[in-house]
Symmetry: C2
Subunit: 393 residues, 2 copies
């Protein structure tokens, strides 16, 4: 196990009705004037907007609403939020929605404290402020894990760059309210995208080059197995509260790094997926469903035993000890089947992508730099090869 | 899954050499004058005392040492610490040692802010102050999990009462330094006591009456399985750094409640074990090794399927689907064998206890009240029965 620092000081209020505590939690963490960030209409449709604003009003907290955050959130809304915060002297950012809303809130929270253009921090040209405005979240989609993570991903309209900010514990929310009931009404496609995303967050940590990490290996497997089981349950019965609850908590644990401490991580599938999202504006989860099995096929031979263990522990495959490659491949097949059961695309064509665009995607990625990955090092040629594998069955 | 709040805002610095960050961490969390709490001589022998004081000195932090904390820590040292803190105007408590040292530090931290006698809080006659002094820890024994927990257990000399304070997130350390290297030099008996203790912390959460808790079930199993595997490794090779590291992180996770959220817990074995420790001053882990298998035998029929699952998932037993009781019993036998391999006592006689004392122990416990437990309700008669089972093979 490598040395590590783990600092995840978010308070989680989990369960049906917990959103009533919102106002009191904003007060507890020092907020007095709130920017409430939301997406489209769904937070209003499911009653979350009314519940949250009622809680803020009960705590006598004035708030300004910033709405219209889209999936693959854009820099434009971040600039808009920063301007509102500065103009109105707001001191707390409350995100109500999924990962896109939360990431927008995070970027506003540190951007408001940053002297220059917030994008400089994403581009590595400026330091993340150590004291961003405090943020809280009320989660309505189990997926990105941003409610407990140190991550923030924004797409800049100029150049269509989908980049992550440097990871920082200062980006972890002060509190997050997780009510699984809110996720019961999600359309199947969005539910499925979330499931793929959280599965990927564990996977990118699981496939490591660090030896002797037995405990985090098992924690990863516990999460992945639960995500598959609960994922199948909610696809069959969207109103299954307890499966929704398991998914929602798994989504947080998948990305707060509790299963990733002390081990090298990979993130190549995410990097390639970001390019697909940037080019075709497809859902983050959908891009991962296309890329991840292809990445696995491409890198499997780096450590077939680990892939075989993945097959056995997560999908219950039988180990073929004389031919671990066979077991390894079976695991990848199971993962792909799982994604298909979820209704996810698993080929380029299904998200409107074509092999002709591959050189352009590789070129576009080079703005962020090569190589990436860790389990295997991915340069331009390897990225192109993996995208080619995404093409076929 | 039940509703829950989870708030574990401790910063963990994990790995060899991390104790060098101590001074800087005390400063980060607002300390300027430190009470350094230690046990006997072992912290000095392994070099931890020198490393920690050097780090404090480098950060220009004055400190006063309170030493001589014993296992099953006593109230006397808490009163002594509170007096020093008040007299010298100290503002940060740094614990260097295992659970007993940390629990003493916690009691001093809130006791110094409590107007009356700190024991009133343990006795339920006073409110836990919401703003105890900040504490940090440098852990030298993987066992109690107090480095990340909301718990604190002290024995009051008057009445020989070994009681826990009401759980409070205010009792969680601001930071904890975990260097597995320090645990490599532990005597086998102390290592083993720690392994039993952390295993028990997961067990008391695993045996629940709450249905539909698939995710935390799996997390519990991941922890227990790792504890058994790494436990066997360090008994065979005490210098195995990576097994020590897995145990140290598992010990923290076992009791920070990450595997216990949203589910009813039990804690009967701990309650009964505390009486054995109070009567015979035996190590906490040793008392649990005696009580836990007996408790399991006694309550197994409340839910044989759960015990069978425990046998399969933690000890790799084969499920006998027509006779789950058989599989369940096999799991309990495996646990007892594991404790014996660790060199732990598993009968009353081995810790110097006798059946003649059982009525007195039950009577003594009544000061804290009956019933306790949760998986099964334990009254005076049940407690006596379980202690009787501890008597035999």
């Amino acid at each position: 196990m490598n040395n590590f620092t783990f600092y995840a000081p978010t308070l989680f209020a989990f369960g049906d009705g917990e959103e009533k505590k919102c106002g009191e939690l904003v007060r507890r963490f020092g907020g007095t004037k709130v920017l409430l960030v939301i997406g489209g209409g769904s937070a209003k449709k499911i009653g979350a907007f009314d519940a949250v604003t009622a809680s803020l009003t009960a705590a006598e907290l004035p708030y300004t609403v910033l709405e219209g955050i889209q999936p693959n959130p854009r820099s434009g809304k971040v600039y808009e939020g920063i301007n509102i915060v500065r103009r109105e002297g707001l001191d707390f950012i409350l995100a109500l929605g999924g990962g896109s809303v939360i990431d927008t809130a995070k970027a506003i929270a540190f951007g408001a404290k940053y002297e220059g253009d917030f994008w400089e921090v994403f581009a590595g040209e400026g330091q993340m402020p150590s004291d961003p405005l405090p943020i809280g979240t009320v989660l309505t989609i189990a997926a990105a894990g941003s409610e407990g993570s140190a991550s923030c991903v924004i797409t800049h309209e100029a150049g269509n760059l989908k980049w992550g900010a440097p990871k920082s514990d200062a980006l972890r929310p002060r509190f997050s309210v997780l009510n699984p009931r809110y996720t019961c009404a999600l359309p199947p496609y969005q539910t499925a995208c979330g499931i793929v995303d959280m599965f990927a967050h564990v996977c990118e940590r699981y496939f490591t080059t660090t030896p002797d990490v037995a405990l985090t290996d098992r924690l990863c497997e516990a999460l992945m197995k639960t995500i598959v089981e609960a994922g199948n349950k909610v696809m069959a019965n969207p109103m299954d509260y307890h499966a929704r609850a398991d998914l929602m908590w798994a989504g947080m644990l998948a990305h707060n790094n509790s299963c990733g401490v002390g081990r090298a991580q990979d993130w190549a599938s995410h990097q390639i997926g970001h390019e697909l999202s940037a080019f075709y504006d497809c859902a983050h989860g959908a891009s991962l469903a296309v890329v991840m099995p292809a990445w696995m096929k491409y890198v499997m031979n780096e450590n077939p035993a680990r892939f075989a263990r993945f097959a056995v522990e997560v999908f219950g495959c039988e180990l073929n000890p004389m031919q671990v490659e066979k077991t390894a491949k079976e695991g990848i097949r199971h993962l792909r089947s799982f994604f298909r059961v979820l209704g996810m695309p698993t080929t380029l064509g299904e998200i409107g992508a074509t092999v002709e665009d591959i050189p352009a995607m590789v070129m576009h990625r080079s703005a962020k730099g090569f190589p990436f990955g860790g389990f295997a090092e991915i340069g331009p040629a390897e990225m192109a090869d993996i995208l080619c594998i995404c093409e076929g069955e």
